[in-house]
Amino acid sequence: MNWLPEGGRLVAALPDWIGQLVTVFGVLIVVLSVAAGLIWYERRLLALVQDRYGPNRVGPAGLLQVLADTFKILFKEDWVPPFADRRVFVVAPSIVFATALLSFMVVPVAEGIVVADIDVGLLFVLAMSSLAVYSVVLAGWASRSKYSLVGGLRAAAQMVSYEVFMGLSLVGVVTMAGSFDLTRIVEAQRGLWYVVPQFVGFVVFVVAGLAETRRLPFDLVEAESELVAGFHTEYSGMKFGMFFVGEYIAVTLVSALIATLFFGGWLGPWLPGVMWFLIKTGVFITFFVVARGTFPRPRYDQLMALGWKVMLPVSLVNLLVTGAIVVAGQ
């Protein structure tokens, strides 16, 4: 398989499965490193826009803060509430982790480099995000406490509603590219990035992505000042850490998807494809972090009203117009 676009003979002699193994481990390690590094990045960047320093004592520029936090959380007491449903309680945090990591299978990081080139890659990603709803529902239900239950209910309703137009906004992209395959979608953007013709879809997808990952301004269900801590009230120690890092992996995933679907993925001059992909993903991760520092939190009914009364009609109209133009062009 080719690693360089011009067909370098560097790895042409090795069997295919070595290349695939390297790709798998490469994507896994990079994603986990980015998600862990996001802990540091978010705290420093939020502090930068808030006229203060973030953690800058532990290690150079505070980089070892991640390590310190990890050690601290690993050594915490692993406590399951006696009134909780034990097996479900323990399983719930790993679901968001697992689904987000699985979604990275289909994201193309460079030309021809993708862990699994599935024909229905985009559908697979949407299916994985639907499965992620289970984590909050099961966490809220298995905790058997009032705050968790209400938080879990709100989270489930929020995520399920925003998923509707997350899918719909992407159908415009699929129509224009003619395929659900993410590599084909990136290839189809060689002429013009889809953010230009599908700007409305892009905005809707960003809002839906914020809501799916439960980031501000849609973090009502887990914010510290709301409902104690929402569905993860009863979680402590490594299970809480898994929710936390799982959320960062989901943020990385949504940023990578925005870059892939609307901003041309790994396309770009001079630099190798991987660099462009990382740069674009980094820009959107930065946007997610800055959005956290900017927007006030809407009330839950305002959040649901925004979803159903504004986002859904907008995405349907976008779909209508895109479909009409594509059909008329044929």
């Binding site: 502090a47 930068l48 826009v49 006229d51 203060r52 320093y53 800055v290 900017t294 927007f295």
Partner: protein, 215 residues
């Protein structure tokens, strides 16, 4: 009786006649201006971009944090920090052991014992302040008639053992005059002590001779 005309929401209230209530309510068609879809979308987008602009603009401001202990935060000269016992401009200690500071202290952290030297001048035999109780209110400084006890802008006095936070007189006494450089109590008081008779203080006239008929 006609109803009052609704105020135009875009009209500025006059400076001499501000609205009588905090919330000015408009009704009717004037109230519905700017509430339809396009103006609301415009306002939402503009306010979102303004908010993002303000927040990102803050990335270019300098940070307000003082990196203690590498940098020290500014403490003004009258900051109520560590307590000291000062001396007068001639080098003798100012404290006359009048117990006023111990009485004024709201948490009773000052203890002392008065004694007299051979010239008749009072001074504390021992003087103890328990800084684990002290609330740094400054009442002792306000009560002191000789400007002996003063609060200085020094706050770095942490200890690991609680008994180390009880300061004795040798820990409290300083070599200088503290914040008040010229005041010398015994030079203005009327008390007759070693080195000064009655009537020899500053701005004091000598005592009148009762048995003399002359003015």
């Amino acid at each position: 009786m006609h109803s009052p005309q609704p105020r135009d929401p875009s009209a500025q209230p006059s400076r001499t006649h501000p609205p009588l209530t905090a919330d000015v309510v408009t009704t009717g068609r004037l109230a519905r201006r700017g509430q339809s879809l396009a103006p609301r979308i415009y306002r939402t987008v503009v306010s979102t971009l303004q908010a993002l602009g303000i927040v990102i603009g803050h990335a270019f401001h300098s940070r307000d944090t003082v990196q203690y202990p590498d940098e020290m935060v500014y403490l003004p000269p009258r900051y109520r920090g560590r307590i000291v016992l000062s001396r007068d401009p001639h080098g003798a200690e100012r404290c006359v052991a009048c117990y006023l500071c111990a009485v004024a202290c709201p948490v009773d952290c000052i203890a002392l014992q008065a004694t007299q030297d051979e010239t008749g001048r009072r001074y504390p035999a021992w003087f103890r302040i328990n800084f684990s109780r002290c609330i740094f209110c400054g009442f002792c400084e306000d009560a002191c008639p000789t400007y002996a006890i003063q609060l200085t802008p020094d706050v770095e006095m942490c200890e690991y053992e609680r008994p180390n936070m009880v300061y004795e007189k040798e820990d409290l006494l300083i070599a200088g005059t503290g914040k008040y450089h010229d005041y010398d109590f015994y030079r203005v008081a009327g008390q007759a002590v070693g080195g000064k008779d009655k009537g020899a203080a500053e701005r004091e006239a000598p005592p009148v001779d009762l048995h003399d008929l002359l003015p």
